[in-house]
């Protein structure tokens, strides 16, 4: 990881008990989150989950009603945004349209008090360096109106990095871009993060983006933090049903735990259920946890209502007796046709006690 000496150590961010209410409803409720030094963390959730609010509170652009925010151990809760030294990248770039690219990037350095202000030559040098970093060398005199969406976003990032922020915060940075540009910029952001090594938090509602880019993912739902973990952790060991269903396909079955055995529809799924859990529960299964078997066998049955191909596997849509649909995965060679009756064998899943 290449890091210049002047950038110093990455710091951690600690969010302690942050709560914010808007007009009676809680946008964030008692959120506790630790962002490790130098990590790339995604705040993931549907709209209204509070992820942007949380990001803005960390930045100082919004204020929590309760709770605290710490940067590297020092309390920043009452620090005004100008003094927090955060780099913020907005969804719609917020570039200053009347300034050139160079002036945009150098802005943060020019507004510093005289004592801290670098010389004009130094500002120009830094600007060039950053334009190299974001692969826009030579664009100094262009104006935002002359740039494409992806280019504007890169300038916005360069501008945020110019002031050597302690942390980098991005609000749905690729939300306003085309799919193709988004994919390119994802890889590029990962690369930039490796090179600068700064603690970075970004907000997204796109789970593919979060899972692909982040070191850890924080899943939010309706103001509550559901789970924080690595992409593998949140996908394979979801802490709540919401996380399970939000991050990918999941089918839900009513299950019963008796004498340490897990039963669905009276049939045994596993003999290794947690002994302490007794009674009704919900079993959630991913498409690859369900195996197609001849009709009459397995734990569930239904009618094949759709067959499509996803990469190297077949995704089969099955409509159950009660009308609900679920998806299962099978190897390409499996001979299955729409309209066929099929049985489903549950091979794995995640158990939750609900309600």
């Amino acid at each position: 990881m290449a890091r210049t000496a002047e950038q110093g150590q990455a710091i951690d961010i600690r969010v302690a008990g942050v709560t914010k209410a808007f007009a009676g409803t809680a946008a964030l409720y008692d959120v506790h989150l630790n962002v490790r030094p130098g990590e790339l963390l995604a705040l993931l959730g549907p709209s209204g989950s509070g992820k942007t609010t949380l990001l803005r509170i960390i930045a100082g652009l919004a204020q929590a009603d309760h709770g605290q925010v710490f940067f590297g151990g020092s309390d920043a809760t009452t620090l005004p945004v100008q003094k927090r030294q955060v780099g913020f990248v907005f969804q719609h770039y917020a570039l200053f349209k009347h300034m050139s690219v160079a002036d945009n990037i150098g802005y943060g350095l020019r507004v510093r008090e005289r004592a801290n202000r670098p010389s004009k030559a130094e500002i120009r040098r830094r600007t060039s360096e950053l334009l190299d970093l974001v692969q826009l060398s030579g664009y100094e005199s262009r104006f935002p109106a002359q740039l494409s969406g992806g280019q504007r976003q890169r300038v916005a990032l360069a501008r945020a990095l110019a002031v050597e922020p302690r942390v980098l915060l991005l609000d749905e940075p690729f939300g306003a871009l085309d799919a193709k540009v988004r994919k390119d910029l994802r890889a590029w952001l990962r690369d930039i993060h490796e090179r600068t090594g700064k603690t970075t938090v970004f907000v997204t509602h796109d789970q593919d983006e979060a899972l692909e880019l982040a070191d850890r993912v924080a899943v939010l739902n309706q103001g509550k933090l559901e789970q924080v973990g690595s992409p593998d952790e949140v996908q394979d060991h979801p802490a709540t049903p919401f996380v399970m269903t939000f991050l990918g396909q999941a089918a839900r079955f009513n299950a019963e735990i008796r004498d340490g055995r897990l039963l669905v529809n009276g049939r045994l799924v596993s003999a290794a259920a947690p002994k302490a859990a007794i009674g009704q529960a919900s079993l959630y299964c991913r498409p690859w946890h369900l195996k197609p078997v001849p009709a009459g066998h397995g734990h569930q049955h239904g009618l094949i209502s759709g067959v499509r191909r996803l990469g190297s596997m077949r995704r089969i849509e099955v409509t159950q007796v009660d009308g609900t649909r679920l998806e299962i995965e099978a190897p390409l060679v499996t001979p299955l046709r729409v309209g066929e009756e099929i049985g489903l064998e549950i091979q794995d899943g995640v158990i939750f006690r609900e309600g």
Partner: protein
Amino acid sequence: MSDLSAVLAPPVLAQQSVVTEHKLVRQLAITVALVFLLLFVVLPLAVVFVEAFRRGLAGFLAAFQEADALAAIQLTLTVAAIAVPLNLVFGLAASWAIAKFEFKGKSLLITLIDLPFSVSPVVSGLIYLLLFGAQGLFGPWLMAHGIKIAFALPGIVLATIFVTFPFVARQLIPLMQEQGTAEEEAALTLGASGWRTFLTVTLPNIKWGLLYGVLLCNARAMGEFGAVSVVSGHIRGLTNTIPLHVEILYNEYNFVAAFAVASLLAGLALVTLALKSFLEWRHGADLASGTHR
């Protein structure tokens, strides 16, 4: 959410918002702005009405019992009654041609329509004198045929039309441009004739903008001073409109009468403004007035 406060972390003090100025700065700015407006806008308006009623209601009404005043009012109404409908028809025709069709020279046409706005009122009157005055281009011919245009009603009407004709068009053009041609085309495909389409589809869509344009046009037509002053010849009782009559009264130091007559026009201005606010509040989208003046 009633137990929100139960187990929460300590509350945070409110802070200065990032998207507005400090409270004191705001209050100072508001004060300066209001004082400025008071001095330059509110007080002049107030003066008109206060001075008009300085001798009470009787004094106010006395101003209108004079023959010259009545003649002035009648002339003003006549001029407006001719000029406004003519400009209305022009405005409808021009905005139909400009908003519903694409053709070369459109922006030049729009600029030409805006022309009277940039011409001094005095010059607006002068050009008609140059055409129809005794020494004007058509002067001798008119005199030979006994037709009076300058220093008579026709001249006043022409000058008024010149000064006020952009109003309706300027109001309607952006409005109709924004509305597009889809609805009219739909009506045509359903079999309606051009006229019918215009009356039943276009007009209802533009009615509020049209009303406002007509109001402005009328207010200006009744209140025009400079152009009419030049072209009318100031013949008392014959070619004096309300504004010209106000001037005469004022120059004769007959202040109460001057302000009394002036208050008619001031009242008209207030009604126009009130209606504009009402229309914007209720039908804001239908006015599409934007930055146009």
